[in-house]
């Protein structure tokens, strides 16, 4: 007879979640839509990327399906941090599922301003820093350079007491270097990964499918790449890592937990199978039971550094 199950996870700085299953930024709005998802199984809801001022987002076409995946270039359409803090947060404060606000910006100053506005607002359980945004200063994404990522993280860390998750981009040569820099700069946890930059071309119209040319690839197609990133990062840092990328089943989620993730986020699958969160939650529980583990924390298979193939 196995011990009573405990699915709770601790992402640091008091951010304790009842479940290791979260919904990913940009795939659940601000928590007011997708009524058919069963929130009782969610550890937290991560909101759409939020910027200082409201943004209209990119011109259509914004999305395109690809083999086992989809491309998106939404352009951070969002109502702006003030609306989020004034209108949404008060509603969240009465919910039984914590809400983590995903923060985006074009400059360190914008990130800092957004975080300042959110700090201490009731109803906001934590922040997830989307460092995949291009930096207007140099056009480079914050997330691709360890020093830039660290600078941004500590600037934000300095102005908030909220639990801070930094979300890594996979579009780098060495994600571990970025992860370590961000950990040292004060992140409470990491989430990995954001989308991979990709593109599709409409052969009939002879132009890119997306108005922006390129977009971010998500869905099952990227699962093996995301899993490798999480495996590497989890074995290199001491803070919790939230695994993201192509998860659609409990088996997928378990791969990430075995790879060292403390929790997972479901993204694209929310569009397709609202019941996925429930299935993943229950599937993880059943696996723990079956193998006699008391909690998900017992799952990670210790990795050590993984050789790259040749």
């Amino acid at each position: 007879m196995a011990k009573p199950l405990d699915l709770r996870v601790d992402l640091g700085r008091g951010l304790r979640l009842r479940s290791p299953v979260l919904v990913a930024s940009g795939t659940f709005g601000y928590g007011f839509d997708a009524p058919q998802v069963d929130r009782a199984v969610l550890g937290a809801i991560v909101t759409k990327g939020t910027t200082l001022r409201p943004r209209d987002g990119n011109a259509p076409n914004r999305i395109a399906e690809t083999p086992s995946g989809m491309l998106n270039a939404i352009g951070l359409q969002n109502p702006g941090v003030d609306h989020v803090a004034r209108v949404y947060a008060p509603l969240w404060s009465s919910w039984d599922v914590p809400v983590i606000v995903n923060v985006a910006g074009d400059s360190v100053d914008e990130y800092v301003a957004v975080v300042r506005r959110l700090d201490g607002v009731p109803g906001i359980a934590g922040l997830e820093l989307n460092i995949s945004c291009p930096n207007v200063a140099n056009g480079l994404q914050f997330g691709v350079a360890p020093d830039l990522a660290a600078e941004l993280t500590s600037a934000v860390r300095a102005v908030t007491r909220l639990p801070l998750i930094v979300k890594l981009t996979p579009n780098v040569t060495d994600i571990v270097a970025v992860a370590r820099a961000v950990e040292d700069a004060g992140a409470d946890a990491l989430s990995a990964i954001n989308t991979f930059v990709g593109m599709a071309i409409d052969v009939r119209r002879r132009q890119p499918m997306l108005s922006r040319g390129s977009g971010g690839l998500s869905g099952p197609a990227i699962k093996p790449l995301a899993l490798h990133a999480v495996w590497q990062v989890a074995s290199a840092v001491r803070i919790p890592v939230v695994g993201i990328g192509g998860i659609t089943t409990a088996g997928d989620a378990l791969e990430f937990l075995l790879a060292g993730a403390a929790a997972v986020q479901l993204g694209t699958v929310n569009y397709v199978r609202p019941e996925a969160a429930r299935e993943v939650h229950d599937g993880i529980a059943a696996y723990l039971e079956e193998h006699g583990f008391a909690d998900p924390g017992a799952l990670p298979i210790r990795s050590g550094s993984v050789l790259t193939h040749a």
Binding site: T27, F28, A34, D56, N61, I63, E65, M70, R205
Partner: protein, 269 residues
């Protein structure tokens, strides 16, 4: 409004006109809840696909719990759907978005291009039920591809074909304005569904007839990620700037809400 996500059994499969397939699903809650012009996200399990496919309800019958979808095969997802037969299950998510506003006064002119006609059996039925005078303008490449007039009981059906095999030769717009004055300004309301270029043509024609844009309702066709407002992938440019979400603010909207100069068409033209 409650959105169902559930498997529904295919109770009938037929070919209503050349190149099209009609699937009738049994799902009483949806049949009862759906308004004309609303759509569903149908799950497909075709090789390498992940997203659901958006389809308008062609008609629904709350009494029998049935709801009809009419479509053509353009790719992997519709090919998978067209291979469903009686007894198979199709997972549906819906009803979604906003249908047409049907409670207006005055005569209604419905304009359908291509498979845009799929939405009109239910729309025409509802307009006729409201005692409105309905003219149904339908265009297709050739006679065999026209939806039978019997699907539009109570409407004055006029057709055009590119090859002239029946009705006017040319596009559906050659049927506009229909005779007997409907279409000359004054109270007439236009309902248009079809490829974006056809919607634009309808609007230009209506403009020439001094029909105000606010009296034209169109069913928009954009890509759909989620269908419920979470992915922001179905943006359509608004005349007042920024974008509306086709899946929530549409697919049926009044023409004056859209900035037609910025409106794109990924799938036709």
């Amino acid at each position: 409004m409650t959105i169902a996500v559930a498997p529904a059994v295919v109770v009938e499969r037929s070919v209503p006109m050349a190149g099209a397939v009609e699937l009738v699903l049994y799902h009483p809650p949806s049949a009862a809840a759906v308004d004309p012009g609303q759509f569903f996200q149908l799950a497909v399990s075709a090789p390498h696909t992940i997203l659901r496919r958006p389809y308008s309800a062609a008609w629904s019958d709350p009494a029998s719990g049935r709801i009809g979808f009419i479509f053509n095969v353009v790719g992997a997802g519709s090919a998978w759907l067209s291979a469903r037969h009686e007894g198979h299950e199709v997972d549906l998510l819906g009803p979604l978005g906003r249908g047409f506003e049907l409670d207006g006064e005055g005569p209604a002119v419905c304009i359908a291009g291509g498979l845009g006609v799929a939405v009109f059996p239910g729309v025409v039925q509802a307009l006729v039920a409201r005692g409105r005078k309905v003219t149904m303008l339908q265009g297709a490449r050739t006679a065999a591809q026209l939806m039978p007039a019997s699907r539009f009981a109570g409407a004055d059906v006029r057709v055009a074909t590119d090859d002239g095999s029946v009705g006017h030769r040319g596009s559906v717009m050659t049927l506009f304005p229909p005779p007997q004055g409907e279409g000359q300004g004054g109270g007439v309301e236009i309902f248009a569904c079809g490829p974006t270029p056809m919607l634009q043509a309808s609007i230009d024609a209506a403009r020439r007839q001094e029909v105000p844009l606010s009296s034209i309702q169109v069913a928009l066709e954009t890509p759909m990620g989620c269908g419920v407002g979470t992915c922001l992938g179905c943006a359509a440019p608004q005349s007042r700037g920024g974008y509306l979400l086709t899946c929530q603010d549409g697919p049926c909207v009044r023409a004056d809400r859209i900035d037609w100069d910025r409106m794109t068409d990924e799938f036709h033209g």
